[in-house]
């Protein structure tokens, strides 16, 4: 039993060690260095980068990013659950529906975001339609605000919610639902008391797969937020690009990761209930 298991885990373990943990160790090393005169890293050793993290400026940015990610995840869940349910119950045609969900995401993310910009702009399609129909007199500022960012994030990460949900819902035993109906439960009650509890692994997996990228998102807030707001993903990106302050960027990254890990660990009670 153990031999098979060892062989199963070996490839992933070796990939993780060389391509994830080793680079992360290098990054950890960087957090203790100083920014070079023109960028990059240099000696002397210092803990100043970690001290900078406690600055209220950065804590506020982190808080905002959490809020945005949370809202996006909730909306994804609300929108994705019925969709995953539909696909799971759609019989032999379900693969086509699955592919239809994924297909938009095989075009470049950037391109789809630009399509949304095109739709949301002051002279974009949505505003033009609303003006033409006389519903509004002045164009609505749909772009370059938090709403647009959340819309972009939800749109971008919906399949990450739908796929794990589908994977669990597909396994749902239809006889359980029949039994609930026989016992007099209405559809809404069945959903609430049978389907949702049974699909908790999928909900957890999907929420995690959406929340975390949303937290560290860079392109969407950059393009749809118009640069007027700064979330944690952009902040980190800035450290490695325009600020060229690798040590602080590394400290920021590892700091954010630590906070999220703490959250994850506090939400997971037993080993078996974890996502991984």
């Amino acid at each position: 039993m153990n031999r098979l298991r060892a062989w199963c885990l070996a490839p992933t373990a070796s990939v993780l060690l060389t391509l994830y943990l080793a680079p992360l160790a290098i990054l950890l090393l960087y957090t203790l260095l100083t920014r070079g005169a023109y960028g990059g890293t240099s000696l002397p050793w210092t803990i100043e980068n970690w001290q900078r993290l406690l600055d209220p400026l950065y804590l506020v940015i982190l808080g905002r990013s959490f809020a945005v990610a949370l809202v996006s995840t909730l909306i994804c869940l609300l929108l994705g659950f019925p969709l995953a349910l539909f696909i799971a119950r759609s019989g032999p045609r379900r693969h086509i529906w699955l592919y239809l969900v994924i297909l938009p995401f095989w075009t470049s993310f950037l391109v789809r975001t630009y399509a949304w910009m095109f739709l949301l702009r002051d002279t974009g399609l949505i505003n033009s339609a609303l003006l033409a129909l006389g519903i509004i007199q002045e164009p609505l500022p749909l772009l370059y605000n938090y709403g647009a960012v959340i819309l972009g994030l939800v749109y971008g990460y919906l399949p990450f919610m739908v796929l794990p949900l589908y994977a669990t819902l597909e396994r749902l035993d239809p006889s359980l639902l029949e039994a609930a109906a026989d016992l007099g439960a209405r559809p809404w009650q069945t959903i609430r008391r049978v389907i949702i509890p049974l699909s908790l692994p999928g909900i957890r997996a999907g929420s995690l797969l959406v929340f975390i990228p949303c937290l560290g998102a860079y392109l969407t807030p950059d393009l749809l937020g118009g640069g007027k707001t700064i979330l944690v993903g952009t902040l980190i990106q800035n450290q490695f690009t325009s600020a060229r302050d690798w040590p602080f960027g590394a400290a920021l990254s590892l700091g954010v990761m630590a906070v999220v890990m703490l959250l994850l660990m506090s939400l997971i009670r037993r080993q078996d209930e974890g996502v991984l």
Partner: protein, 251 residues
């Protein structure tokens, strides 16, 4: 429950609206949002752009390689974890999920910098594929594991009782039941790989420009309908491929 199909239709419309918009305006004669007549000029421009074609090819190659590797390794890993949990492996995978893309990209860049110093390894297709396998792994494991957790362990035990080896039990009992989950995971992995910009742009070499990188550069300079044409082509091309694959599966 009756409303479900109607809701699904609305959801699919939401998902495909930007694509429809892109497709419609890829046939627009004008560069701008005013419709000036039907035209194929952007498609002609797309096909004559050698850089775009090479980038698309690179993306497909990288996506295919990374998907195969990540799905194989990840599915096996999920199975192993399902049998008995491994604290450090789960923790590392969780951590890799929590890592922002820019961080993973920079850390891999730092690693490849060292690799260059001591092994002379330059940035190129191989570094991109390795990076893609890395960031797809955790997603594959999560999806497959979620599916495994809804499965009955006693099925495998029954097979073992009937005299099958571990490997046979896995191959003939668990794997077929797992297949849709693995398929979903592979789909997710390909999507993530094909779409990635941040990490790829950092670890790509001179010869490994991918489609997102080219599109980013074009789109950064302002809306360009050539981008619309490419996207429409990709979606319809892949869509057709999938339809054919579905037909083949059903025969």
């Amino acid at each position: 429950m009756r409303l479900l199909p109607a809701y699904a239709a609305a959801a699919f419309l939401f998902l495909h609206l930007p694509l429809l918009v892109l497709a419609v305006f890829s046939f627009n004669e004008s560069r701008f949002t005013v419709w000036e007549g039907f035209s194929l000029r952007w498609y002609r421009a797309a096909f004559s752009d050698a850089q775009l074609i090479e980038a698309t090819w690179n993306s497909l190659l990288i996506g295919a390689a990374a998907t195969v590797l990540a799905t194989a390794a990840g599915a096996l890993c999920a199975y192993g974890l399902w049998k008995r949990a491994s604290r450090w492996l789960s923790a590392s995978l969780s951590l890799s999920l929590v890592t922002p893309e820019i961080v993973m990209g920079i850390s891999l860049l730092a690693l490849f910098q060292w690799a260059f110093r001591f092994l002379g390894v330059r940035l190129g297709m191989h570094t991109v594929i390795l990076a893609h396998v890395m960031f797809c792994l955790a997603y594959v494991v999560i999806v497959v594991l979620a599916r495994l957790r809804t499965m009955d362990r006693s099925l495998e035990e029954a097979a073992l009782d009937l005299g099958a080896t571990e490997w046979q039990a896995f191959r003939r009992v668990t794997l077929p039941l797992l297949a849709p989950g693995v398929g979903a995971a592979a789909l997710l992995a390909f999507t993530i790989s094909f779409d990635d910009y941040v990490i790829t742009s950092l670890v790509a070499g001179v010869d490994s420009e991918t489609l997102p990188m080219v599109l980013y550069a074009i789109a950064r300079r302002g809306a360009n309908p050539v981008v619309n044409a490419i996207s429409t082509l990709i979606v319809f091309g892949l869509g057709l491929l999938i339809l054919i694959a579905e037909r083949l599966r059903e025969t």
